[in-house]
């Protein structure tokens, strides 16, 4: 199961890197998606190699996680669109004012 864990740690680190390095809000959101995916992968891996494969909770947890990630992406991207309409920017460094 080591390769799977390595993959998921790579995914998590690169997601964090995307969130920290890139200045574009879309990329930040995408970094968060990558981190979520890393967590999902871990769930499945530990289900497959875990003590009790009969229980399906990990699978269902991942299912819910995917659904919530989709919802989050939808709202997040809509927010980015709205901010872009008001501030003409998607750069997270420039979104520094509370007044819209």
């Amino acid at each position: 199961m080591l390769p799977y864990l390595l993959i998921s740690s790579l995914l998590f680190s690169s997601g964090l890197a995307a969130a920290l390095l890139r200045r574009n809000a879309v990329m930040v959101l995408i970094g968060i998606e990558l981190m979520l995916n890393a967590a999902n992968l871990n769930f499945i891996v530990f289900w497959k190699y875990g003590p009790g494969p009969a229980t399906l909770s990990p699978i269902l947890f991942v299912l819910f996680s995917i659904a919530i990630a989709a919802a989050e992406a939808g709202v997040g991207l809509a927010l980015i669109l709205a901010i872009h309409r008001h501030r003409q920017t998607t750069n997270v460094d420039e979104m520094d004012s509370l007044r819209g």
Partner: protein, 176 residues
């Protein structure tokens, strides 16, 4: 390590690193879609078919496409405005590399890595459905509610309301 898993790992690694490094946001998002495909492959390999196909439908079919739409709608002609590396990027990069090294070391040194794969662990659709409709029926309903709320919220957020936007700013763009 098996051959197919090696290929999948390569795809995922290339995709996720590409997502960070590509200057063009569209390339970044497409590279991310490649990562999602690779992950679906890994899920398939782990015997979670349902998750694998949901992953493709949701992430590739919806999230990546949505991100592409937003990238295209918010870009204003400029391309590759971001510089790839600069001094203030070094710290986050170092942090992320250290995180990866740390996580990998933890996985390497832990005892669970030698645990055998359980061949019996497969999620049949019938079992999944039964679980969803019995033990997890409340989370499922809540999730449905959440998705509906999100859909409405996203629609309202993205809806172009002319009353709210500045009329002076809007005038040159629209003619009635």
């Amino acid at each position: 390590m098996n051959f197919d898993l090696a290929i999948l790992s390569l795809i995922i690694a290339a995709g996720s690193i590409g997502a960070i490094l590509f200057r063009d946001l569209v390339h970044s998002v497409l590279s991310l879609a490649v990562t999602f495909f690779g992950l679906a492959g890994v899920y398939l390999r782990l015997g979670a078919e349902f998750i694998a196909f949901s992953q493709v439908i949701v992430y590739v079919g919806a999230v990546a496409i949505l991100a592409l739409f937003v990238v295209i709608l918010t870009r204003k002609g400029e391309r590759a405005a971001e510089s790839r590396f600069s001094a203030d990027r070094l710290l986050p990069l170092a942090v992320c590399s250290m995180l990866f090294v740390g996580l990998a070391a933890a996985a390497w040194s832990s005892s669970i890595k030698s645990r055998p794969e359980l061949a019996s662990a497969t999620a049949s659709m019938r079992q999944l459905g039964r679980e969803l409709m019995s033990s997890y029926v409340v989370p499922l309903e809540v999730l449905g509610l959440l998705l509906t709320a999100c859909m409405i919220g996203a629609t309202i957020l993205a809806l172009n309301d002319d009353r709210e936007s500045n009329p002076d700013e809007d005038k040159p763009h629209s003619s009635h």
